[in-house]
């Protein structure tokens, strides 16, 4: 029993951090350089076995990468691209898997907006779309998807709504248990991204609490601010620990994995949304400006929280399950 990362996993995290620090600036759109670096580093295939053309690590390493993308508040269709590679690999489409891994495709994410329409994230610049609906999960050519852009709550995550269904022959498709499997990994990766966001807001609030002075002292000395920071840190830590636990249950294909992924999603959503909101409050007037980056975490947390279901959908499924082992 050991919930801490191995030294190899720690190294993966430092490498991802270094790449992001070098090629990503908070508040800037996704650059080609970061996308190519991600492909070179194997981020899109990190969790797939070598037999499926993958890097040969597991969902644990995959979730560590996604967590860092959350921490950096990096925009870009990383989640859907990683999951499209899962779908392609499980569907036996080796060519597509390899192309996604090489960074040749940016994959948009289409989920139900209502019974008729889909909401699509990251469509501009995408060559493929990952479609999630009641039939399962499939990868289609972006040419099949006609959608009208709407103003996005997060300017760096473009959003478009379709007029109707998404049709067209899929390049890879999963249904039944295979689809459930990929969606479970997807929900865990969403939780990891949310846990990263939650942690990033702690860093931002604590730095400001030490730096900003009022009444002749750093505001972080005041309990009103200090206690909010302590709560933020606790929520972020709880989320990270549960994400790590759930990732191990998925890697090991344990029977209680779905239970733990639900739990991870619930605590991580709460951590990311609450923390990002309180982070604005901790910054006062400057936190309310467009120029400051605090709002980036607020809107990104909302976007992540609505990927592949919601906290509420995971609450329903968690309560319906039998107790964990």
């Amino acid at each position: 029993m050991d919930l801490l990362p191995t030294s190899e996993q720690d190294e993966i995290v430092s490498t991802v951090r270094a790449v992001l620090a070098d090629r990503h600036q908070l508040g800037e759109p996704l650059g080609d350089e970061l996308w190519s670096a991600a492909a070179e580093q194997g981020w899109f295939l990190i969790g797939l076995p070598e037999s499926a053309g993958g890097v040969g690590y597991s969902i644990i390493e995959e979730s560590l990468v996604m967590r860092e993308l959350g921490t950096a508040c990096a925009p870009g269709p990383f989640l859907a691209t990683v999951l499209a590679a899962h779908v392609a690999a499980l569907a036996g489409n080796a060519e597509l898997t390899a192309a996604i891994g090489a960074g040749s495709h940016r994959v948009a994410l289409a989920e139900r907006l209502d019974p008729e329409r889909f909401a699509v994230q990251d469509l501009p610049g995408a060559s493929l779309v990952l479609v999630v609906d009641e039939a399962g999960i499939r990868v289609v050519d972006a040419a099949h998807v006609s959608a009208s852009a709407v103003d996005s709550i997060d300017e760096l995550v473009p959003v478009a709504y379709t007029d109707g269904a998404i049709t067209g022959e899929p390049l890879a498709a999963l249904s039944g248990d295979d689809a459930i499997d990929v969606l479970l990994d997807g929900a865990l990766l969403v939780a990891a991204g949310l846990a990263g966001l939650a942690e990033a807001t702690v860093t931002q609030s604590v730095a400001y609490g030490k730096d900003r002075e009022q009444f002749g002292q750093p505001i972080g000395a005041f309990q009103a601010v200090k206690h909010r920071c302590a709560d933020m840190a606790t929520r972020a830590e709880i989320a990270s620990c549960q994400v790590a636990y759930a990732a191990i249950t998925r890697r090991d294909r344990r029977d209680d994995a779905a239970f733990h992924v639900d739990a991870a999603r619930i605590v991580a959503t709460r951590a990311a949304i609450d923390n990002s909101q309180i982070n604005v409050q901790n910054h006062g007037g400057i936190g309310f400006t467009w120029e400051h980056t605090a709002h980036r975490f607020v809107t990104r947390a909302r976007v992540w929280s609505l990927r592949l279901g919601s906290s509420a959908s995971h609450q329903s499924s968690l309560l319906a399950r039998s107790a964990a082992d």
């Binding site: 029993m1 702690v202 709880i238 620990c241 636990y245």
Partner: protein, 394 residues
């Protein structure tokens, strides 16, 4: 990263489960006084005879020298056995989790040899003597005086919020031995024999109808200097080492138990009629959401506890999780019992005892202690803010 138990740990779990099934006492636990003391000590003695006392105490001091993982497995099996009492409420808690561990770290050879076997065997009850009427959150401002007179300390003053003082044999007592030193520097940690002349104990009734909460008055109470643990005037450091146990494993039993309580509550919500008077309580959306959140939170609390154990096993040093576990657990414990009262409907009118399977209102009233005792949640937040996040003090 792995969730696997070793063959030894699996065998330990099996052994614990079998033993508990045969030895767990029938309830209910007597609510107060000498009968309660006898019940708690008899259980401690049963543990001792079965080889289950001091699971994570070092072997040289009579413990089993096992890991915190095994300690956690024991608590999980204890909770699974549906015991008629709560370990955290036992009058053996301070000896097992405070006094004993403090002596192991800071006590003299004589102190260890005299006291540790008695604690493990269930011969004695220990209580705490930290808080005073004027020194609660600001513990270091305590003013209970002890003056050196020959080879004795003479204690005068008052302590308060001392659970089980009225049935205790010994007390871990913080006294001011140097009033001229800065407040953290002039404190000593001493072992006080509760039968020493000059001690007067008054019981305080809590909001949960329990009378074991006491105040203790000291009038020229003479304590041998050999009862000082650690150095004289260095008691703050000794006390902090005691409190670090609280933020470590002392409340693990309670966390494990809370997970079992949430499962029981989900069962209750499936069988009890909900607020609309027709469907089961669990069909109510708000109750369902809160139950799901509680289930997710106790699950995540366990993950955080395991992360803390992992760090201690790997590095020997507690990480940030330790301080956060207390804070999160105390408030979660309260939320769970608040939710319980919303689920049981009119049955919430009936007062129950504070522990025992299937009781809700007593534990609800008792839950208010969880964000006050052992340092209020306000102090816990200061600790996380200052020691973990490095935010400045006022």
């Amino acid at each position: 990263m792995n969730l696997d138990f070793t063959p030894d740990e699996d065998a330990f779990r099996e052994e614990a489960r079998t033993w508990l099934a045969e030895h767990l006492p029938a309830g209910p636990r007597p609510p107060e006084g000498d009968e309660m003391r006898a019940f708690d000590l008899a259980w401690q003695r049963t543990l001792y005879d079965g080889g289950w006392a001091g699971i994570n105490w070092p072997v040289e001091f009579g413990g089993r020298g096992l890991t915190d993982i095994q300690q956690m497995i024991w608590y999980e099996e204890f909770a699974r056995a549906e015991p008629p009492f709560t370990l955290n409420n036992s009058c053996t808690f301070v000896g097992n989790n405070h006094g004993g561990p403090t002596l192991i770290v800071s006590g003299s050879d004589e102190q260890k040899a005299f006291h540790l076997p008695k604690i493990l065997r269930g011969d004695v009850v220990w209580c705490q003597g930290f808080s005073e009427p004027g020194a609660g959150s600001d513990l270091a401002s305590l003013s209970c005086r002890a003056e050196i007179d020959g080879d004795e300390l003479v204690v005068n003053g008052q302590k308060i919020w001392t659970s089980y003082a009225h049935v205790a044999d010994f007390q871990e007592l913080l006294v001011r031995t140097d009033p001229s030193a800065p407040k953290h520097k002039g404190i000593s940690w001493v072992i006080c024999d509760m039968r020493t002349p000059g001690i007067e104990i008054r019981e305080i009734t809590t909001m949960s109808h329990v009378n074991d909460f006491c105040e203790v008055f000291y009038d020229d109470v003479r304590i041998p200097l050999t009862n000082v643990v650690g150095q004289i005037n260095d008691g703050w450091r000794t006390a902090m080492s005691t409190l670090s146990f609280e933020r470590g494993t002392a409340f693990m039993a309670d966390q494990v138990e809370l997970a079992a309580v949430v499962e029981r509550l989900i069962d209750e919500a499936r069988t009890r009629t909900g607020p609309d008077g027709r469907r089961a309580a669990i069909a109510d959306d708000e109750i369902a959401r809160r139950l799901a959140t509680a289930r997710a939170e106790v699950t995540a609390l366990r993950a955080m506890t395991i992360a803390g154990i992992s760090r201690v096993l790997r590095t020997g040093v507690p990480g940030p999780e330790g301080s956060m576990v207390r804070l999160f657990h105390g408030e979660l414990h309260q939320r769970v019992y608040q939710l319980a009262l919303d689920i049981i409907g009119a049955d919430a009118l009936r007062l129950t005892s504070i522990d025992g399977h299937g009781n809700w209102t007593g534990p609800y009233l008792q839950s208010f202690a969880y964000t006050i005792g052992g340092g209020t949640t306000d102090i816990q937040r200061n600790i996380v803010g200052e020691r973990v996040l490095g935010l400045p003090r006022v």
